[in-house]
Symmetry: C2
Subunit: 395 residues, 2 copies
């Protein structure tokens, strides 16, 4: 990694992040006395820049930008200065706790380029808050969420040419936090590395909006009470891959994760899950499982709940849903739509669920059901700045 120039962060940065009351609120963040500061960031630019790919050819998470952010921590020295530096492989001690005991967590967020050529982040403080929560659960050190967000903003500014000129592509931002303790005891790490990489991603629905089929089997359980399912820790994901391939063996695209004796519907693949139906009391309802410890508190999940509650057009509930509820509602023609939500797709409709050997058809109305379509449009319009909203932060 050759160094070409080291400039003070202040010279490379655009005006500070503009935050509003709703999108980037620091409410609920305990002040972290010991944290790195974005103002201390050292920027080392890459000597040569890679060619930018065509957004329409991109496979998710395979292409990375020219730079990355790294911030080191030790229990004795605390947080070091943030570094924005050329994208490079990490040098990790072979006994590192991230490699043996999955002392690791990540976040997923995106930067969007609007038709006004302005770059926006979508409710990034929700990601920062969730990252702090995951860090606590993983026994990794705390930090000031506002400072990390400002560091991320600086990184996006450095690699701003990588944010696609597109109304559906974006720049995926992957903050990652690793324990780097170089010894084999299972304990709180005495050193850690927080880093952020950026990857331009195409439209999730580049070949058209496509509903997915889900395999629902209680054989594999994604998360459980007393575990880490409500944190974005690596262990939740590695354990899920085996089931994902079994879903594919059954001709389905993703796993519908069930929980408990009553086969509660929890999540699908790596998405939160919504059921839009006429409920058992005859009410029109949009329902998603409550945040009871086994559900990831998704940013899109929260945004869908807030948006639809504001519409006031139907009941919006965080409630338990079982496979029996779904089967009964399908039999009685009470299901209107079912969809997953996540940063990658925003919303993704479900067309079929394979359960106990039976294919359950979920209404999809020509692949593009009205509620999912409306949510996809309204949220995308906010993310790309086509609809003004205080959920976005300008970069």
């Amino acid at each position: 990694m050759a160094s070409v120039s080291v400039v003070p962060a202040s010279e490379a940065s655009a005006p500070s992040l503009k935050v509003s009351a709703n999108d980037c609120s620091t409410n609920g963040i305990t002040e972290c006395i010991s944290s790195f500061k974005a103002a201390d960031a050292v920027i080392e630019l890459a000597p040569t820049l890679k060619p930018k790919p065509d957004p329409s050819d991109l496979v998710f998470g395979t292409v990375f930008t020219d730079h990355m952010l790294t911030i080191e921590w030790t229990s004795t020295g605390g947080w070091q200065k943030p570094h924005i530096c050329p994208f490079h492989n990490l040098s990790i001690h072979p006994a590192g706790s991230a490699l043996h005991y999955a002392v690791q967590l990540f976040e997923g967020m995106k930067a969007y380029r609007g038709p006004d050529n302005v770059l926006r982040l979508f409710r990034p403080m929700l990601n920062m808050k969730r990252m702090l929560k995951s860090a606590e659960r993983a026994c990794l050190p705390s930090f000031d969420a506002v400072e990390l967000l400002e560091c991320i903003r600086k990184l996006v500014v450095v690699d701003q040419e990588w944010v696609p000129q597109s109304d559906s592509a974006s720049l995926y931002i992957r903050p990652t936090f690793l324990g780097t303790e170089p010894s084999l005891g299972v304990k709180k790490p005495s050193s850690a590395l927080l880093y952020v990489i950026l990857s331009p991603v195409g439209s999730y629905f580049s070949t058209g909006y496509k509903p997915v089929s889900l395999w629902a089997d209680p054989k594999y359980v994604r998360a459980w009470k007393g575990g880490t399912g409500d944190c974005k820790m690596g262990g939740n994901y590695g354990a899920s891959i085996y089931a994902q391939y079994e879903a594919i063996d059954y001709g389905c695209q993703q796993v519908l994760w069930l929980y408990g004796e009553d086969h509660q519907i929890t999540e699908a693949g790596t998405m939160n899950l919504f059921l839009y139906w006429i409920n058992e009391n005859g009410e029109e309802e949009l329902a998603t499982p409550p945040l009871d410890g086994i559900i990831l508190p998704g940013v899109i999940r929260q945004s869908i709940l807030e948006l639809t509650r504001k519409w006031g057009m139907f009941k919006v509930s965080e409630r338990y849903l079982t496979m029996a509820d779904l089967c009964c509602a399908l039999k009685e023609n009470r299901v209107k739509e079912m969809f997953g939500s996540g940063t990658a797709c925003v919303v993704c409709s479900v067309s079929q669920v394979l359960y106990k050997g039976q294919n359950l058809d979920i209404p999809c109305l020509g692949d593009c059901p009205p509620l999912a379509s409306r949510l996809l449009k309204e949220l995308s319009d906010i993310q790309y700045g086509r609809t003004p909203c205080d959920w976005v932060c300008l970069v």
Copy 2:
């Protein structure tokens, strides 16, 4: 990492591993057509050797030997040649799947130097079989267990001076297997790295045999049906650290992991757990939870079951045990001993369990209860070659 010499493996290796029917049996291992071969190993010796530490000063897993074993795999090229090379940091792509999704697993085993100066491994094929099982669950590629064991043997031969001259210290062997897929999709990795590092470790009971106190609270759950608790995957461990520190806050040393509404006793810290008692039917019994998917199939666990069954002195059971069973038995003075088992300690007695705000005293008979003492002695005698047994493999 400077290279000084590259010699064919055959020149550096001692005679091949001696295996017997019981200790290193390959029964149950599906033949892996595509595997690395120990005979292809390339050995690059370190230019300078580190000073060996005093075994009595060692903190577990903090000091490493001069060399390590690395074997790379890609989905297109298959397994590459094994490399025994100077100990070095790993260069890992920042999007690597081991870092984001905990596509990772490990094993723990030891090499012992006997009074005859011969080096021995204890039932290493059990570790190899378990590693293959973990690899399948983690969607990492398979390999030939016999070939990996032979590679490990070659590595131990290269670093044989690091196996302590001691009747209680040993050389800890840490095989590790990582997904190195350099992209962010949650999927089967297309590249992987298997490596082995060695760490000399002192006596677990260097300051005398010490029973431990356990904190039993259903608040945190180590493993669950449909998860990965029966595999040695990193995610199981990282998720446990937070609870471990809560145990310490309560004045206890380790967590007694409970499961289910009936508070089943499952494991303690990173150990399997045994209860030696007069059971509810008045029978003298050594009991440990069955391998029902949430219990790690420990090598020492299996050895204790086989050894005590051979003794034929009391009933030996794999059965469920609940906190209610324990509390009732303590009240009626039916508990004789409780102890954990693992590679690090062999056996480790439990003196106290904090449960629902009450300290339950477990009989410990002067810190060194007779069954735990006998097991520690018999197993150590086998490991160090003081008692001949086909459970050991000569290095």
